[in-house]
């Protein structure tokens, strides 16, 4: 019945960008509540040890201090949390609580919480705490952690192995024994972290007179936190409201449960007044989740034509002292071993995953969970194979990428692909980047001693996760989303939806989708997000579900309301609803498109003159819709990236010259926003490929925990990024949209690593560790 009114697919600008441009953003960091206290934490200065003495009496007496909490005085407020999931059979992790009890498990582990009238006073008082820790040997390196006789990362573990699993097809051994070629490599991926520009921020506000807890939190997932606070603090869910206003970047980092946020809620419950915690940048480095930290040993078997027969992969990932909650720190490694070789026709596979504890900050889900590692390893091996067989990298991919007419297709690791467009993407990329001319330029410059390299990397991205992602493992993470859409008495449209906005443009695309269903313009649709009291419950924004699941929810809600409006209009107009449709803010005659009655008039009659309607006529003009994916367990998108770099082989410095992306996210709702998601994603992939790394010393101290020492990509270092699209909508939904947030990050580093190694090829040097720092490149060149 509904046809598109043409807003889906258009580059609408974001209305909510206007307030940011005016300096009128509304971040948690900006919130001031009456009688609000400020929290600061005393943290463990060492990676592992026993607390032998803790004296907070001087701190408690300090100027401005209202209360000092330790584990003894605060932890009983909260039921401990344990980051394990049932479907990761045999996984273990210690239970976590608000403040460290008896032992400290990483440098930065919060031990004491101080509440004062200002953050400065709270910090001053932190200096007065007497904390004596008996230093113990920290477990720093993952391989050492697994060796016999290694100390345990935490008491109560039966070993430092959090989880281990093996995926294997029956033909693996035969594939390798019959292979004409085998290529292999060892890869190391550095730890890095999100560095959201707004650090984690929370204001917890418990009112003892009503029993209501309001939590203002910079998070992606307000419903998840409503559930967590309700269960762990023993509060009725209806008395917990989580409000996520503007959020200054999140990238997966702001959906995990952290000690400081939980302690802030506990403190507000204890004191019955608002408590604020905003991490400073040092604290962010010492407590935000880190990501990656993988070591991968991998080999690939090929036939004599360069056809990929199998991969054999061993991934060891180091996750810190605990598995994070509620999603676990195993999810990334799990995705690494399942995404290996994903773009290719590859009959056989063996992947072993070992997840290891160590005394460092927890690692967990960050943008493009596992994708960059699987992609970098796969693509490095494919390039090695091409080199061995004397094939051009494009030719090598063309021979092996799953054909565009081969779907549905099941990967050797068990992923079910509905429909991808690898071959078309490959061809499009070749044109987009002007591949042949670049190769010529590269050869010419090589004769002048200039080392440039071209690298390509196809990828598969997981989006639109259903309940099999976390729900089956027992995690209370919503697989569905919800929307309430209503027509106001003035004929405007209002939508409250559970998917959240962190700048991706969620509110804009939802407005576009609904506008098309109701025959209005997106600026007539007001969308609200991020408040558990005023929007229906749902999973919110993570793993690329905003457009695919949130958008579909909005579409279905919009259609429901459309039906209601048309039924009501038909009653008013005394005609058949099937003869009517919505356009230009009015009910129109479908055949002639002539206006019959405006939405404003419908709103007026339904609201102020329902007495004039036929008896029993539904005039509610408000609909609710929830939606969870029911088709494939996940949607997959695909694409390919290319990187063009120049390596100075005297200094080891790499200059990024250009980057290209061809991407297929299904139905594109807003090209402007999609392109900027991809560009931002590419930079978050290039950052860890060249700059970003959380460096630790042998004692488990993070040694570059400041923005002066931890290198975030800057404008001057980043290349221009050209983007092209292919659209293969998913048939699982009416909307057909998949996700796009991880695509840029998924393959940028892989393309860059291939490009650097292409530049280095004449020297015989290879780099297989990220970040590819000048030092590591010089080491590979034998200059160091």
């Amino acid at each position: 019945m509904t046809t598109s009114k043409g807003h889906i697919g258009q580059s609408h600008r974001r209305e909510n960008a206007l307030r940011h441009l005016a300096g009128r953003g509304r971040f948690v960091t900006d919130l001031v509540l009456p009688r609000m206290l400020h929290a600061a934490f005393v943290r463990s200065p060492m990676a592992k040890g026993k607390i032998v003495e803790l004296d907070v009496s001087d701190a408690a007496a300090a100027s401005g201090v209202v209360r000092v909490f330790t584990a003894e005085t605060l932890n009983d407020m909260c039921a401990p949390w344990t980051g394990v999931l049932d479907h990761f059979a045999g996984m273990q992790s210690g239970a976590q609580n608000l403040l460290a009890e008896k032992e400290v498990l990483w440098a930065g582990h919060p031990v004491v919480m101080i509440l004062a009238h200002s953050r400065a006073e709270a910090e001053d008082a932190c200096e007065l705490v007497m904390l004596d820790i008996e230093d113990e040997d920290a477990v720093v390196d993952g391989e050492a952690a697994l060796a016999g006789g290694s100390p345990l990362a935490a008491e109560g573990l039966d070993s430092n192995l959090c989880f281990q699993t093996v995926l294997k097809t029956p033909g693996l051994d035969e594939a390798f024994s019959s292979a004409a070629h085998v290529v292999e490599g060892n890869f190391t991926f550095g730890r890095h972290t999100a560095v959201s520009l707004e650090p984690r921020a929370i204001v917890a506000d418990f009112d003892p007179s009503t029993g209501q807890l309001n939590v203002h939190q910079g998070t992606q997932t307000p419903y998840q936190f409503q559930d967590v606070y309700s269960r762990h603090f023993g509060l009725p869910e209806g008395k917990v409201r989580v409000i996520a206003p503007d959020v200054g970047g999140s990238f997966g980092m702001k959906l995990h449960v952290y000690h400081e946020e939980m302690a802030t809620v506990a403190a507000s419950l204890k004191l019955g007044r608002p408590v604020r915690f905003v991490a400073d940048r040092l604290e962010s480095f010492l407590s935000d989740i880190h990501a990656r930290d993988h070591r991968v040993k991998a080999r690939m078997a090929l036939d004599s034509n360069g056809g990929i027969l199998a991969m054999d992969v061993d991934d060891m990932t180091q996750i810190g002292a605990f598995s994070s909650y509620p999603r676990t720190s195993v999810a990334e490694g799990n995705q690494v071993i399942r995404l290996m070789g994903a773009p290719y026709q590859m009959p056989d596979y063996r992947g072993r995953l070992s997840v290891v504890f160590q005394n460092k900050v927890q690692t967990s889900q960050y943008r493009a969970v596992g994708h960059p590692i699987a992609c970098a390893v796969t693509e490095a091996l494919v390039d090695l194979a091409a080199e061995e067989l004397g094939l051009d990298p494009f030719e090598m991919r063309q021979r092996n990428l799953v054909a565009d007419d081969a779907y549905p297709y099941v990967s050797a690791t068990g992923y079910q692909f509905e429909k991808l467009s690898h071959q078309a993407s490959l061809a499009k990329l070749r044109d987009l980047m002007g591949y042949d001319a670049l190769r010529q330029e590269q050869a010419t410059l090589r004769t002048q001693g200039i080392y440039r390299g071209i690298g390509i990397a196809p990828f598969v991205e997981i989006t639109n996760p259903g309940a099999t992602f976390y729900g089956v493992g027992g995690a209370r993470i919503s697989a569905q989303d919800g929307a309430v859409v209503r027509l106001t008495p003035a004929g405007d449209v209002y939508c409250a939806i559970s998917v959240t906005e962190q700048g991706q443009g969620t509110e804009t695309i939802i407005a576009q989708v609904i506008a098309d269903q109701l025959g209005v313009t997106p600026d007539q649709v007001k969308v609200s997000t991020g408040d558990t009291d005023t929007t229906p419950s749902g999973g919110a924004t993570w793993a690329c579900r905003g457009a695919g699941i949130g958008g579909e929810t909005a579409l279905r809600a919009g259609r429901k309301l459309q039906e209601q409006i048309l039924t009501l209009a038909a009653a008013i107009l005394q005609t058949d609803p099937t003869l009517l449709s919505l356009a230009n803010g009015a009910v129109v005659d479908t055949a002639t498109q002539h206006e019959r009655i405006t939405l404003a008039e419908i709103g007026r009659i339904a609201t102020y003159r329902p007495d004039t309607l036929p008896k029993g006529c539904d005039h509610s003009l408000t609909v609710a819709q929830h939606y969870a994916p029911t088709g494939y367990p996940f949607d997959f998108t695909n694409g390919i990236q290319a990187s063009y770099v120049e390596v100075d082989i005297e200094t080891g410095v790499t200059r990024l010259l250009k980057h290209w992306v061809v991407e297929d996210c299904g139905r594109i709702i807003n090209p402007l926003l999609v392109d900027e998601q991809i560009r931002g994603g590419v930079v978050q992939g290039l950052g860890p490929a060249f700059f970003e790394e959380c460096l630790y010393d042998d004692m488990g101290q993070m040694v570059n925990a400041s923005l002066a020492d931890y290198l975030v990509p800057m404008a001057g270092e980043m290349p221009d990024i050209e983007i092209a699209h292919i659209e293969t909508p998913t048939l699982d939904t009416i909307l057909g949209a998949k996700g796009v947030g991880e695509a840029g990050t998924a393959a940028a580093g892989a393309a860059a690593m291939n490009a650097v190694n292409d530049a280095l090829r004449p020297t015989g040097a290879r780099v297989s560790q990220t970040p590819m720092t000048p030092m590591r490149i010089l080491t590979a060149l034998g200059h160091l």
């Binding site: 441009l21 940048r281 700048g503 402007l672 900027e676 560009r679 404008a715």
Partner: protein, 162 residues
């Protein structure tokens, strides 16, 4: 021990009693509720807190409030109200040169300062001028595009007038 300081913020005379250790950023945000100035690192690296001090961009997190006594501060709120950056804001909006918006105030400050000194900067010059501003969302390109487009538009307006 608090001390009184007088200074001008967005053209308005301000008198505040503050501790000498208080940063300009904290006074703007906490005392004056001018929350458009953001704090991302509090060590002068990220650029989210840039404000204009007598016309020059400075990190409000690195300036002690007592240092600005008698001087003129312009924050994003002031620039917004004056309309001086309206064309920049429009280009940022058109190009979606912001996502979460946390870096945006600082980006506009840097862009405004750059265009005040160099009316037709090249793309490398723009990228260089943004070397004190971190953005984690956009990949920078849209920001560079927006600044470049503003420069071009302004130059056309100047030509048109002449």
């Amino acid at each position: 021990m608090k001390t009184d300081i007088n200074f001008t913020v967005n053209g308005e005379a301000v008198r505040e009693a503050i501790e000498p250790r208080t940063s300009l950023a904290d006074v703007l945000r906490d005392n004056l509720s001018l929350t458009g100035t953001h704090l991302g690192c509090e060590m002068g690296a990220c650029g989210a807190c840039l404000v204009l001090l007598d016309g020059a961009p400075v990190h409000a997190c690195l300036v002690l409030a007592v240092q600005v006594a008698g001087q003129k501060i312009e924050t994003i709120e002031g620039l917004n109200n004056s309309g001086l950056v309206a064309d920049l804001q429009e280009q940022f909006h058109d190009r979606n040169a912001l996502q979460c918006g946390f870096c945006t105030s600082g980006m506009l400050m840097s862009a405004h300062a750059l265009l005040s000194q160099n009316s037709m900067p090249s793309r490398p010059e723009i990228r260089d001028a943004l070397s004190g501003n971190y953005c984690r969302c956009t990949g920078y390109e849209a920001i560079v595009d927006a600044i470049s487009a503003t420069a071009e538009r302004r130059s056309k307006i100047v030509e048109g007038v002449q």
